[in-house]
């Protein structure tokens, strides 16, 4: 198919690793950030952004070689890309396919915007947020983040 061919140019298949598909258009870099991939990490990564998608209009795709994402990592992605699908690839084949599920508690993922919050000090704790429909609720200071969650990612 023509569409596949074009995608193929953007991202080549991987032998082993994880393909994150159907990421909300424009959120790929935030997805990488949320699973802790920075310029300093050694994984080989391919990213395609704003790929045409029949279902979503535009989507992003991320392929990570030689790393299988854990369930906990996968669920963090749900925060910014609730429609994402995760394919674990082994020897060029899809070994496992899963959707993302928003976790009920986020630990160490976002920073509390409240400067007076104890989680923003040198105490030996991770930030902890409860995921509510209206936003993220800091379990330390009760602050609620309602918008622009990605700007608070740690």
């Amino acid at each position: 198919m023509k569409r596949d061919a074009r995608e193929g140019l953007l991202i080549s298949p991987i032998r082993n690793g994880t393909v994150i598909d159907h990421i909300t258009g424009g959120e790929a870099l935030n997805v990488l950030k949320i699973i802790g991939i920075t310029g300093a990490t050694t994984e080989s990564i391919s990213v395609a952004t704003n790929v045409k998608s029949g279902k979503m209009g535009r989507k992003d795709i991320v392929k990570i070689e030689n790393r299988e994402l854990l369930k906990e990592e996968v669920n963090r992605i749900a925060l910014i890309a609730p429609n994402a699908s995760i394919n674990i690839i082994r020897n060029f084949e899809v070994f496992e396919k899963k959707g993302v599920e928003i976790p009920s508690i986020l630990t160490g993922v976002v920073r509390c915007p409240n400067p007076g919050c104890i989680s923003n000090t040198n105490e030996p704790i991770d930030s902890k947020f409860e995921v509510l429909t209206k936003g993220l609720h800091c379990l330390y200071c009760d602050w609620i983040i309602t918008k622009d969650i990605t700007s608070h990612l740690i």
């Binding site: 007076g116 104890i118 105490e123 030996p124 704790i125 800091c138 200071c141 009760d142 609620i144």
Partner: protein
């Protein structure tokens, strides 16, 4: 572990039990010595003499002993180590820790590291469950808590005392009338949450338009530092002042509460009126804190 961190952690049944217990303690002629041999650690990282004295008095009435640091010692200690470490160490000295700390969420953190119960005596913006419990207890001395009409007057934006009282009253189906200066209104996130729970909240700018229908008028401080200059502070503060004149023609059972200390929010002329209950409210801190201490250590 039996911590008391936020009024939100308590169910209506648990609140009722604490108030009932406070009421029993209040009406008994002699106090039992049920906490004899127990030690209460008071960790105050910022000054709050009244809260501290009130906890100490409550502990003494139950036969127990208090140990602690004053805020100067505590804050110099805080520079050297994390609160988590302090809490772990003090857990080994006492049967319960009462904590007051300038950072929001400090009491929650303490509860994660303590091996004994933690009672929050205020973290950050000043919320502490013992204040809310004694507010509820004072109201219930005059009337049942169900379905009453409560006016919240003053700084409702930063005043966490009013926030947690509003939350607690919503458990009892109260109607809330908020009266606050422009810019100091109840945050919409809190108002929305309470409305979702089915609480009716009506906003007013002028207390005189609503005073005749209230069962409780809860007055909070309007802090000078919220205003750009003292002229604009005095202008606002004077228009939110509770005076004997304001209280003519009110409901007979109306009570006026204030967490104290007051500045100019309530005219001293109100003190003699039958509606004034803020000194009883303050005194009620003892039986309520006794009930809390017994709940966590009993």
């Amino acid at each position: 572990m039996n911590h008391i961190i936020s009024i939100r952690d308590l169910s209506r049944t648990e609140i009722d039990q604490l108030i009932d217990e406070a009421s029993r303690i209040d009406s008994s002629v002699s106090f039992d010595q049920s906490l004899k041999g127990k030690i209460l650690a008071l960790l105050f990282f910022e000054p709050s003499t009244r809260t501290r004295m009130s906890f100490e008095a409550a502990m003494a009435r139950l036969g127990g002993t208090s140990i602690g640091l004053d805020s100067v010692e505590a804050s110099s200690m805080a520079k050297g180590e994390t609160l988590a470490d302090t809490i772990r160490v003090v857990s080994g000295y006492a049967d319960t820790i009462v904590l007051r700390h300038p950072k929001e969420g400090a009491a929650r953190l303490a509860s994660e590291f303590a091996s004994v119960p933690v009672i929050n005596a205020g973290d950050g913006a000043g919320q502490h469950p013992s204040q809310t419990l004694l507010d509820l207890y004072t109201i219930r001395q005059s009337m049942p808590l169900e379905g009453i009409s409560v006016g919240l007057l003053g700084d409702l934006r930063y005043g966490r005392t009013a926030h947690s009282l509003a939350y607690a009253l919503s458990l009892y189906g109260a109607t809330l009338h908020t009266i606050s200066p422009k810019g100091l209104e109840l945050p919409t996130s809190i108002a929305d949450e309470l409305r979702e729970k089915g609480t009716e909240i009506v906003e007013h700018r002028d207390v005189s338009e609503i005073i005749g229908t209230l069962d409780v008028l809860y007055v909070t401080r309007i802090q000078r530092e919220r205003f750009p200059d003292s002229a604009s502070y005095f202008k606002v503060a004077s228009s939110y002042r509770v005076t004997p004149d304001l209280l003519t023609g009110v409901r007979e059972r109306l009570i006026v509460l204030h967490p104290l200390p007051r500045l100019d929010e309530i005219d001293p002329g109100v003190d003699q009126l039958p509606y004034a209950r803020y000194f009883e409210q303050s005194r009620n801190g003892i039986p309520v804190r006794m009930a809390m201490l017994r709940k966590v250590m009993g």
